[in-house]
């Protein structure tokens, strides 16, 4: 390596600019592929961007931590974006109020089913206890999932990965499974995506239909609340 090139490399790997730019470029590439091949949900832009970046970092030997120093500026916007979900929610408020009882029952059923089936399936197939505990809160938005994971003895950073994978699975296959169970109501379709797959499910629902998006945002918020309160209680009941 020539000295000039080496210097440039040192600068790039120490500055947050590279990680930040890489995140945006990889996501745009993901979007481009998604648009170019007929907006097939399986070509999820997040999945494509994650694979591109992880591949590049592995190939160049840059650590995740170094990349995240730059990417954290994008990561930070998750907070304000969650707050912004109040806007679609407000616009659908009349709809929400009318379906409140159905929402609450569906929330409790969906929240419990997601957590229990995740732990149950992994347990039946012989996963380690650490993995089981990290899986339990995977349906809710990352900050709360990581908090709950820590509380019950899981690995927060592993939980974050499960959270993202859950979102990508729902965004890619959610439409298919919703058609399979023949749910046509946009409110219900969106709510299911939000409860089971937090922000990534909500992002997908927003892409498809505005009503679905608002109910997905609501589902994500409500399940964050339900999981944060119920899961630690459930854990103490089962494991003492």
């Amino acid at each position: 390596m020539s000295p000039d090139f080496h210097e440039i490399w040192v600068y790039l790997s120490a500055s947050p600019l590279a990680g930040l730019t890489l995140t945006l470029v990889a996501y745009q590439a993901g979007l481009w592929v998604f648009e170019q091949f007929g907006r097939r949900p399986i070509l999820n832009p997040v999945l494509i961007a994650v694979l591109l970046i992880a591949g590049l970092l592995t190939a160049t030997g840059v650590e995740y931590r170094t990349y995240f120093d730059g990417a954290q500026f994008v990561h930070f916007l998750l907070g304000p974006a969650t707050v912004a979900l109040a806007v679609p929610l407000y616009k659908q408020f009349n709809e929400v109020r009318r379906s409140a009882p159905a929402l609450i029952v569906a929330l409790l059923a969906g929240s419990a089913a997601s957590a229990l089936s995740a732990v149950g399936i992994a347990w039946a197939l012989g996963a380690s206890e650490r993995t089981l505990l990290s899986l339990a809160p995977k349906s809710v938005t990352s900050p709360i999932a990581m908090g709950v994971s820590e509380q019950i003895g899981g690995l927060p950073s592993l939980t974050a990965v499960f959270v993202i994978l859950t979102g990508i699975i729902a965004a890619s296959l959610g439409t298919w499974v919703l058609n399979l169970v023949r749910v046509k109501d946009w409110r219900a379709r969106g709510f299911g995506m939000g409860v089971a797959a937090h922000g990534i499910g909500t992002a997908r629902a927003l892409q498809v239909n505005e009503v679905a998006g608002a109910f997905a945002g609501l589902g994500m918020g409500l399940n964050a609340l339900a999981t944060a309160i119920l899961l630690p209680v459930l854990y103490h009941l089962i494991f003492g």
Binding site: Q72, A81, P88, A102, A127, V148, S157, M193
Partner: protein, 116 residues
Amino acid sequence: MLGTLTILLLCQLAGELIARILHLPVPGPVIGMVLLFIGLLVKGDVPTPLQDMAGGILRHLSLLFVPAGVGVMAHLHRLGTEALPIAAALFGSTLLGVALTAWVMAALSRRGEDRR
């Protein structure tokens, strides 16, 4: 745009403070969302700049998950040794969760509307 971003950040900050002071297990941004929602209820409509800002940020919501997603790198070993239980659990529980929530909600709201 600047004013709107400030409002979003103020709601988030207030949410974080409330969560910490009251020791609530809920993340600050979720409380911030409730605060902004109450604000909109009080005001009675959504100001256009806020509408535009929220629309813009939510249209690219999935971008914001990319940095955390790349964290998969740090766990490749565990994901490799427990690949089958993890994959089965993630696919099974996610699809069950989406389908069951939507199905219960659709069934109940249909019944509610029939009665009316």
